[in-house]
Symmetry: C2
Subunit: 340 residues, 2 copies
């Protein structure tokens, strides 16, 4: 028992066994570096024998690149965020980076999570379903770590943002409902400190009010969950003069609302009440729902995120990218009425 149990071999051990310098083993494990095939072979043989695995921590200390990207995700229960995570992870791995996940419980956790990300010296920070304080944003800027917010934009904050055009989406949704003959509206929303939700709501309202009276639309908070959407629909539909059209600011709430309407209230969709959502989660396309909605362009968003975090001069101007809205009409909305 001369050797300590389970000690991990280092490049020094490999170098000694192979009879080469430490630099040689470093080069043998760095593709494209200046080393003869013969020497590399010798190193690899010794490495295999010692079960050597290079230590990324030590190399990152020098190169100042960890190939780790922090991803902050406050809400994994909404499938749209799982979809973003899946796509982000896939694309980042393609360029040799890994996702370090942070799922803060609430707003005061955000800053703490950000702090921890910086301690890990991550190459970039992606924020979905959450926001960042301006103090933290400038700290990241100082340290040259690019930050990109997904699906949200805060004017004046020195970070990148990529999102769908919520105002256009809201307008399209309102128009679709109006053209289908909607006259009394219910809106199921969420916390208005989320800019995306707020923008959607404002855009819907703005377009609605061009055609109908303010008194004809009532708003209810669905908390951005299935159960919340279910309850909100119950509340809205039990009014003395219930809406004929329901705008849900996220698909996951729309699913809840539809289930409440169909199975608890026994009304038909879209005949008794039309429903639309936002996001186009997978479930929206399932035969049980066939929900009309506005797509959140996840793939395109991640595309832009990737190019933003790989930009040459890291401290380049923060960009605010807004992608085109795409209305997806399925079966929960009434066909467009003949021109009145």
């Amino acid at each position: 028992m001369t050797r300590k149990r389970s000690a991990r071999a280092s490049s020094i051990d490999v170098a000694r066994l192979a009879g080469v310098s430490i630099a040689a083993v470093s080069r043998a494990f760095t593709p494209g570096s200046s080393i003869s095939e013969e020497l590399a072979d010798k190193v690899h043989k010794a490495a295999r024998q010692l079960k050597y695995v290079p230590n990324t921590l030590a190399s990152s200390l020098i190169t100042r690149e960890t190939n780790i990207v922090a991803l902050m995700l406050a809400n994994l229960s909404n499938p749209i965020y799982s979809a973003m995570l899946a796509e982000a992870s896939r694309r980042l791995e393609e360029i040799g980076k890994q996702v370090l996940l942070f799922t803060p419980r609430d707003v005061q956790d955000f800053d703490q999570s950000l702090q921890r990300m910086l301690r890990y010296q991550v190459d970039a920070i992606i924020i979905a379903a959450a926001s960042i304080s301006s103090r933290m944003a400038s700290l990241c800027l100082d340290r040259d770590v690019p930050v990109v917010m997904l699906g949200r934009h805060v004017p004046g904050l020195p970070v990148h943002s990529v999102r769908g055009n919520a105002r256009e989406g809201g307008r399209l949704v309102a128009e679709l409902m109006l053209k289908g003959g909607g006259r009394r509206f219910g809106v199921i929303g969420g916390p208005t400190n989320l800019t995306t939700i707020l923008e959607r709501q404002e855009a819907v309202m703005a377009r609605l009010h061009q055609d109908i009276d303010v008194a004809q639309v009532s708003v209810c908070d669905g908390g951005l969950t299935y159960a919340g959407g279910y309850q909100a629909a119950l509340t809205l539909m039990s009014a003395s003069n219930p809406p004929d059209s329901l705008v849900c600011l996220t698909d996951i709430m729309a699913l809840g609302a539809m289930d409440a309407i169909r199975f608890e209230l026994n009304r038909r969709i879209p005949e008794d009440v039309a429903v639309v959502g936002f996001d186009d989660i997978a479930e929206a396309g399932h035969a049980s729902y066939q929900l009309s909605t506005v797509r959140t362009p996840v793939r395109e968003m991640i595309d832009h995120m990737i190019t933003l975090i790989s930009r040459k001069p890291k401290n380049a101007e923060p960009k605010a990218i807004e992608l085109q809205a795409e209305l997806i009409v399925r079966r929960t909305t009434r066909p467009i009425a003949a021109r009145k």
Copy 2:
């Protein structure tokens, strides 16, 4: 412009500004270490001034603890795995660890992902929806990094595993269908190299064959996706003598099957055909589906995972934990017939 733009302050800079030793700033940022309040204050003040953030990479190099846990997840599109990820991330952050995510595309990527995990010196490796080669398992064992497989078990592999009791679950499902009067069965399965799926299928078959003839059950591959379940249901139900009972080996396939049965085939569930699934994903409880199923005990699995990776002597015996199956009867199965 005497100072290089955006250079990050190190503990040396802080020590110099505060007029203390480097050790002092280390101690000021390590809770519970021997340092006077006065000195700690002085350090913190200097740190704030320089926007100093401790470098985890350097400290991990010494302490041999990264507080990073690698999580391998081959399939994020099935909500049961998102649920595992969400719960694992939540619980790990509670004990000060972060999840480093790996989403390998296919089997030959597994080993490469494992290699990269080890390079990052992760404290533990969690594997869900994927498997590990015995070569890699022993490499992890050598390096004292605990491995736990979630929802899967490979006898003889020197890694921990935590899973639901698939055999018991399969038996319960088969029994429920049989007692509901089922006589002709369809089974929608998946790749049989996944041990969980295989175990479920074998258990269902075994119980079925106690009561009915082998010829009365046909199997179809649903590829573990919604679309696959949809197609498989179509195939099975279009047989000359279609099944009166459908066992889907995962809920996500059951949702597809139900949608096909209801909206393409216009049959009623459970009157024309009963359906059960496995996992109890959130959607199974939604009013649109109300799917009878066997719960995958995610919370309990993660509980055990946490205790397994925090065990004192890391190289302790690998444990294979099997949790009790729980049948959840909703509305897609026929009530249990009177004793015949």
